[in-house]
Symmetry: D2
Subunit: 355 residues, 4 copies
């Protein structure tokens, strides 16, 4: 039985980790770490957990925790983990970080977008970007996994095969993403009040959202060249779900009949299948398929569809995830399964809940 | 492996049955019956089921179905099952009916409230009312289980111990119930459109809702006397959940110190514990506890709290369930587990999802 | 032109006052008072006001304000107005208080339910309870109007004629009220976050909500006897609207044919018409009518319907208002109109917005 | 007093027309036309109108209606008006068409996108596209006004000044639009049920939505060249509101210092001000401003903001409207005001409602 500890267990992503691990046959939570609720009953902070969790919240002493468990999940604000990480911690336990501290290889990019200094850049080299479908083999051998952001997971996976195969011009990529409000966390802030979010919609962080360089770094790796994209997040009046609508110009290529032309739907579909055909957590809806966030709610799935627009020479790709599952806690558990040699789906076979 | 068939698999309750049975170790769905979608892929009607269900929808031929499976769930409109039920069907398979056809023992009460004739009253005698926490032993031996209504389940369980123990005057009982919109079904009707329900709240079926006699019959049995209650359902702009707020006058009794008085909080709590202390699916929040529908979402739990109001001599009891789970599909599976000698919780240990 | 000042202009009720007064022909806001946003542009705090309001927020100096305007609205926390009220202020300007400070005549009842001492009980005597439909003549002559609470307005008006006429036993009255979340204010508190409220429903303040004594005092006056009721508020995932579902036992009386019996629907309806037949802001839906909050949204209307339940001898009364309009700002403006001899409907003839 | 008739008065846009005209000093509705509710009380179909509208619904006989009124609004399905239009009707009354029948000048484009034949193309020439801010003078002299679509209004106005001034390359324009559900109408269709829309988000009509050619035609006129854009509509779980997020590549130009470069924020802002500085209904939020749909709810405003992204050479423009007001009924009344020589704002000065 894998012993797991969570720092930040009282945030929404932390609570989702608890929910998932409660149904995981090979793992159990041993430490419910929280900055704000130390000493309080966890099941009083999250009353859905009544009868499931008896424990009280503990502090966020990572070093101590790492001695007691096999794996630590950190669902903490940016800079926390980078501020306390040591070699000893990594020798004690595997670490899966749900924050952004080790996602970007280039420390200057981190410091530019996050506007805080990085305290432990020496671990950036060994940290593995935990996008399982892209980095599976590296993750298996890692000590420190940088779990991708919610927008990022959805944005990258939706475009990855077409970028990798060179079917689109990556520098024309525009990601227009829409997220449920749980992505904003459980902090008591005015913009997240019910009456401010309900019956409302807005863009935010336009041309400046911190998930942008993460998308660019990963798609740049796929493209084999630096990539600059436009990324616009939006807040939607729903609890869960991210929908990414992505636009890119198709590259013309010599077609079977010798002429120059845009790829066909079959060619696009087959690029997706090449990379995702064997993936349990990616469901390809095919040409014309429009994913809806509700159809993946509560699950670790990514639903992907696309539409070619020959009038403009563009392709519109669409991906949907549950931001708290594949966008956070579910992917973290998927990474844990990889780290510990378990079947990747263990504990993650939830059927999406509808309605 | 129990072979299960569902008539009405494309309604919301039917789809929830599918979701639950997909995670049930001892059962599998063999027949996805539907009146409206015969021949269509089930996973196209419910796209959350993509990759989980390969089957197409079949018709609603109950007799044929009963020969192929061990248990039939009927999530059908009132009158359907009563119209086709035969002795042969019951000899072929267990039947768990999610409609109201066999819930009321008195056929004239059925015909008065439902305003349709009952075609097969000869089966009313053997049908067992499937409220597991109250009728467990009878259910185990039944062939035909009448699965309780969603409002009913919540309303009865919230008041049952206090009525049974004579702590409240049952004829003062007022049930003010609030339901999410999935209770109205998946029919394309104007009042259920998003723009009609959203940002809105209303009562409906006032003093005439069909779940009233069902509550009265069961609480009348508990009280040992006929009971007439007020029951008012309300439509709430949310997908899932029922909250029942119930009011009743406390009965005065001789107290430990010899005086006449209302029961104490401890006495009330201990009545609840007498009946529910060992129940997996009932979570007692104790005096002052106010259940919230979100804390049971997606699960088979009933959360119950209460508050004594000494100024008025009344008690306010509150119960919350997920209407599609404990109020429909979850309870149906709980009944199936009882019918087949399985652990009652099998397939039903979902942790409520929050947020 | 009436010069108006608002203390608490940056709360939801204060903002609704601004919205209404912007369309009022005889009044204009001269002072946007706020504790939290002093010096900030009002239209930046409420961006719907962009181009409508040029002013910055001022402080909450009531004495100074009273010298500059004809009427002061206080949309402030309990205790604020009672703490600063002076005779001079009342000589300077009319005061319409949206808080509870002068609603209850008995200072001990105030201190018991609000748990704070009342600093200026000497003004309780002259304060007039601003329920226009019941107290119109007194309001016209007042200097200090205690604007009723949102739950209170809806609860009282829905039952008032039947209590006043003795058609129901007032001590059997149970008010089960449901409110949109704007009633909880604009404070950044965890329970009011979108993800906590959305897809959720709960009761709160059970048997202890502060609007209870206010309802009891007014209905007690109507009944000519002290009245104790049960009042249970609920939080609903919508921005605006209160629905009150009220239960009371009908009194039997000698009927036209000489027998003893419950009142007929026509008798009930005619009691409502006796009091409300000439009221612009009360819309009687008649027997069987079920009001919906959405049908009054954005307006100052109260929609009222009822249903007699002869099986239990009870009547179910239902009332719906917009909590921010008739439950707060609209009623305050209605009171202002009375104070200044204007047509009562001036500025308040908004057609409800649907959907 | 202008006598107005409405065909399609029982749809959401028709009902919003009624709401707006009830507050219009110079107009009154004389004919509530409806296909589905002939002979029924209008105030029973829309109970918010109780006490405001006494009339019953009439049929949709346009010829008869045109003889009785000064202006006819048609809020009808595509093809209805084109099928019944005659010269006589236009001689009898002004016609403002909220459908798409006369929006596109090229009948073949209409027939391609709408997939129905156009019965009366002879009126296409004289029909004026009713985007008041762009076509004011032509509208004043028209007999037949083609009121723009909801998505279209928002999409065009947000980009118009920059396209007109050549600051962006119009063929790089991508419009990612999000709409509340009232845009889907009041038809009882499964995809519009509360439980299907709530907690969900999806794109639809990708690369094929009928508003595309309308945007292209108008922006093409502005650009002075044919324009092909990408337009993707999305369904959002809210009643009202459209948010358009628009992306385009900035054109480099010689800057004041002689170098070649992208326009500055000030240059962009000044292009917006050139066209909209005097417009009552357009509120410019300036550089970095992110409009929110809630801030314009219930009003005829368009809020517009933008952000330059120098990393990608793109500009992100954002516009928000209430789809039923500026996107339909409000703009129709604005057109009526122009047609009849009234102040353009008459009846349309509603303060947006928040929350």
């Amino acid at each position: 039985m894998i012993k797991a500890g969570i720092i930040g267990a009282t945030g929404y992503a932390g609570a989702e980790l608890v929910r998932i691990l409660l149904n995981h046959k090979e793992a159990e939570v041993k430490w419910y770490g929280s900055k704000s609720y130390i000493g309080e009953s966890y099941a009083k902070v999250y009353r859905n957990m009544f009868r499931f969790v008896e424990a009280d919240c503990l502090d966020d002493n990572l070093e101590e925790l790492s001695r007691q468990v096999d794996v630590v999940f950190t669902a903490t604000p940016q800079g926390f983990l980078a501020g306390v990480m040591t070699e000893e911690i990594l020798q004690n336990a595997k670490v899966i970080d749900l924050s952004a501290d080790y996602r970007l290889k280039d420390v200057s990019v981190y410091e530019k977008w996050y506007k805080i200094p990085h305290k432990t850049p020496q671990f950036l080299g060994e940290a593995v970007y935990g996008l399982c479908e892209a980095n599976r083999e590296k993750i298996k051998k890692a000590r420190l996994v940088a779990n991708p952001g919610c927008y990022t997971t959805c944005s990258i996976l939706t475009a990855y095969p077409l970028v990798k195969e060179g079917l689109v011009d990556p520098n024309t990529l525009i990601v227009d993403a829409k997220s449920g409000t749980s992505g904003a966390g459980r902090g008591a802030k005015l913009p997240n009040l019910f009456c401010e979010v309900n019956e409302n919609m807005k863009a935010y962080g336009v041309a400046s959202h911190r998930h942008t360089p993460e998308i660019e770094e990963q798609l740049g790796d796929a493209a084999g060249q630096p990539v600059a994209i436009s990324f616009t997040p939006h807040l939607v009046p729903m609890n869960r779900g991210i929908l990414a609508t992505e636009y890119a110009s198709l590259r013309q290529a010599v077609q079977p009949d010798g002429s120059l032309g845009y790829p066909s739907e079959a060619q696009i579909q087959s690029a997706y299948e090449k990379y995702y055909g064997g993936e349990y957590f990616i469901r390809l809806l095919g040409p014309g398929g429009c994913p809806e966030t509700k159809w993946v709610e509560g699950s670790n799935f990514v639903d992907i569809g696309f539409q070619i627009d020959r009038r403009t020479g563009r392709i519109i790709m669409m991906g949907a995830i549950d931001n708290l599952v594949k966008g956070a806690a579910g992917q973290a558990v998927q990474n844990m399964n990889l780290l510990f040699g378990l079947p990747e789906e263990e504990g993650l076979q939830m059927v999406p809940m509808f309605p």
